[in-house]
């Protein structure tokens, strides 16, 4: 199959669409769909669990499944992913346990999975601050002649932060094997993209760093996959970093705590619903007879199983032991922290006794 995207011509126009022969067989294509569909199910379940109080807050990926899944699936096992709070579905598609991913939103711990084992950095909340981490890891890999690649997600808002500039410039200078995928979902909370920047595309910034810039339809999973794969291949081959802008749209409010009626219209949202990445891809797969109802039923069933597991694991989950807050500050607990832990311990024992 063929993926199509456009290299950004640095004067703001779009170059002729590039095409890329995807080396994906039907099983892999089906799996792309499966991951997006499961991602969507997981996302819905997370929203429900938030309404029910099992999660404190949640930032939905709804509408961005193609951008997230298309990009992360292009990574090899040993590559690294640096996600944000928005990228639950992308991290899920990378194979990280969904309950562990949601620890951040559950409030049980800041990061629930093992980054070293998963090769996924913690979901990062301070915008753009993880971009230099990705660059640094890629620099290290290059120093060590280790052919791995780092991919980092950023939002259109995050791209305004100084850290995104420093991370991209350093990546270019050191020809670090890192791919920056900006999901331009049109909003940074309430602030629309035209108040975030004056240029027509974030990908235009690439020229200023001396790296390729790619503008891709973020709701077309094959294009995202193709563009990311090409960037990853180039990075792995020593060709340095790439900046990809995946144009997409956040369908849900910023988080479950946000009221988006204050800043955008239902009409606008509906227009983007019509470009739903799952339906688009499903239509394509159906056209080419690659999926049938039985397959879709299996995916649905798998989704329900995962959703049930999320419910079981997250609903009414215990709070965790507050004494743990002292355990991981340093490799070796300081006597100061030991004393504070002991004080808390005494307090907790006293409470237990009186209960």
């Amino acid at each position: 199959m063929t993926a199509v995207w456009r290299d950004v011509a640095p004067d703001g126009g779009l170059r002729e669409p590039c095409s890329y022969e995807l080396e994906l067989d039907p099983a892999q294509l089906r799996d792309l769909y499966r991951l997006m569909a499961l991602g969507r199910r997981v996302d819905r379940q997370a929203i429900n669990l938030t309404r029910q109080g099992a999660l404190g807050v949640y930032a939905s990926s709804l509408g961005q499944e193609a951008a997230q899944v298309g990009a992360t699936v292009a990574l090899e096992q040993d590559d690294w992913l640096f996600p944000t709070y928005r990228d639950t579905v992308g991290v899920f598609a990378r194979g990280v346990d969904i309950v562990e991913i949601l620890a951040l939103f559950q409030g049980s711990w800041h990061c629930g999975f093992d980054p070293l084992r998963c090769r996924v950095a913690p979901l990062t909340t301070p915008l753009a601050t993880h971009a230099p981490h990705a660059t640094g890891l890629a620099m290290a890999a290059r120093l060590r002649h280790d052919p791995i690649v780092a991919l980092t997600f950023l939002g259109d808002g995050a791209a305004s932060e100084g850290d995104s500039h420093e991370a991209m410039n350093m990546a270019a200078v050191f020809q670090a094997p890192v791919v920056f995928v900006v999901q331009n979902n049109h909003y940074a909370i309430s602030v629309p993209i035209d108040l975030q920047m004056h240029a027509s595309s974030i990908a235009l910034r690439a020229a200023g760093y001396g790296m390729p810039g790619v503008l891709v339809d973020g709701n077309d999973v094959l294009s995202v996959y193709g563009a990311t794969r090409a960037a990853i291949d180039r990075a792995r081959a020593g060709g340095g970093p790439t900046l990809i802008e995946a144009v997409t749209y956040r369908i849900e409010p910023h988080t479950t705590a946000d009221d988006d009626t204050r800043y955008r219209s239902a009409v606008e949202i509906d227009a983007w619903r019509a470009r739903d990445p799952l339906e688009r891809f499903l239509a394509l797969l159906r056209e080419s007879d690659m999926v049938d109802d039985a397959f879709l039923a299996t995916v649905d069933a798998e989704g329900e199983t995962i959703a049930a597991r999320m419910r079981d694991a997250l609903f009414g989950a215990p709070d965790g032991d507050p004494r743990e807050m002292f355990d991981h500050v340093y490799a070796a607990k300081t006597s100061q922290l030991q004393a504070q832990q002991t004080a808390l311990d005494r307090e907790l024992s006293a409470t237990e006794e009186t209960e």
Binding site: G56, V57, Y85, A103, L104, F105, Q106, G107, S108, W109, H110, T125, P126, L127, G157, A158, S160, E161, G162, D163, A188, I189, S190, V191, L195, Q196, M197, D258, R262, Y263, D319, G320, D321, P322, E324, M325, F326, V329, Q336, L337, Q340, L344, E347, L348
Partner: protein, 323 residues
């Protein structure tokens, strides 16, 4: 009239914009949305995008441009969306906001306010519950204010906006919904004056921002033990009104300072050190500290064990009384 702290702050901004057309309010989501906590709600509707507007996500840029605005002659009031997202602006704050007047030999003051919702207790994810007051209070050239009640929130924010120098205005976000029966507008409180919120003789509780309510609660409960606790609301963290503190502790002989932020090298240490220097001979016990632990702010599910409580304060009083 019963007002929440959030409403009091909103009214203060509105009134300041009405009274002084050089006041401009900007930051992330403060315009159309009215801020994630709605503190700037309605300002853009009322005053237009020239007086209240949204910015790109760039905290250093927000504070940096505010410096330029102040240089021009406006009075920018900028919002950092959360405590933990104000750190990218620390360089601008430390290197410029705090130093401009001094650098220019008094020629260029920077009348600007940096509003920061701070502190925990709202069940938020990482980076949304930090207590960064020590970073600011330690920085010479800054004025650091944190109100503990709706009335003070109004009065101190008005004073901060009218102040000739930059003010870091720390809003205790978990008290945004705290109510008080107070008629707005109240007169501007002078910056730099602590307030004795409750008088007593057993010991002095010293608190600010989110911990004022907690200290008052402790003092209420303490009466059951026959203790009369004096409660001081610091209000202006820098410059500190150490006279009011010293007067109280001279009387009570015992002091407990309370804050949410980590203890080590934290703001409470300054109060303890200053008081000990000033009233050493009157101290029956060392100034004790009831504070957050020396850990990164914990996840929401266990944060209540991190936050100082009235119980912990009373334990500290008991401890002070043992000396």
């Amino acid at each position: 009239m019963t007002v929440t702290m959030a409403a009091a702050l909103n009214t203060a901004l509105r009134d300041a914009m009405r009274d002084d057309d050089t006041v401009v309010v900007y930051g992330e989501d403060v315009g159309r949305l009215g801020g994630v906590f709605r503190i700037t709600d309605g300002l853009q509707q009322e005053w237009g995008t020239e007086r209240c507007f949204d910015t790109p996500v760039a905290e250093s840029g927000i504070v940096g441009t505010a410096i330029g605005m102040a240089l021009y002659g406006l009075r920018p009031v900028v919002e950092m969306q959360f405590d933990g997202f104000a750190y990218p602006a620390l360089d601008q704050v430390i290197s410029h906001v705090a130093k401009y007047r001094n650098r220019t030999r008094g020629t260029v003051g920077l009348p600007m306010v940096i509003r920061i919702p701070y502190g925990g207790g709202i069940g938020a994810v990482e980076h949304h519950s930090e207590s960064p007051e020590t970073y600011y209070a330690h920085t010479a050239g800054l004025t650091v204010v944190s109100p503990g009640t709706p009335g003070d929130a109004y009065a101190l924010l008005r004073s901060a906006i009218a102040f000739p120098d930059p003010v870091v205005f720390l809003e205790p976000k978990r008290r945004y919904w705290l109510k008080e029966d107070v008629e707005l507008p109240v007169d501007g409180e002078p910056i730099g004056r602590a307030l004795v919120r409750r008088t007593g003789t057993t010991a002095t509780l010293i608190a600010y921002g989110p911990m004022v309510s907690t200290a008052m609660e402790a003092a209420d409960t303490a009466t059951q033990d026959g203790w009369e606790l004096e409660v001081i609301d610091v209000r202006t963290l820098s410059p500190l009104d150490s006279d009011t503190l010293a007067t109280s502790v001279t009387k009570t002989g015992r002091a407990i300072v309370v804050h949410e932020g980590p203890r080590f090298a934290g703001y409470g240490a300054e109060i303890a050190a200053t008081l000990t220097e000033r009233v050493f001979g009157h101290l029956a016990a060392p100034v004790l500290r009831v504070t957050g632990f020396d850990v990164p702010y914990p996840p929401a599910k266990i944060e209540r064990h991190y936050l100082p409580t009235a119980d912990r304060i009373l334990d500290a009083v008991a401890h002070a009384l043992e000396y």
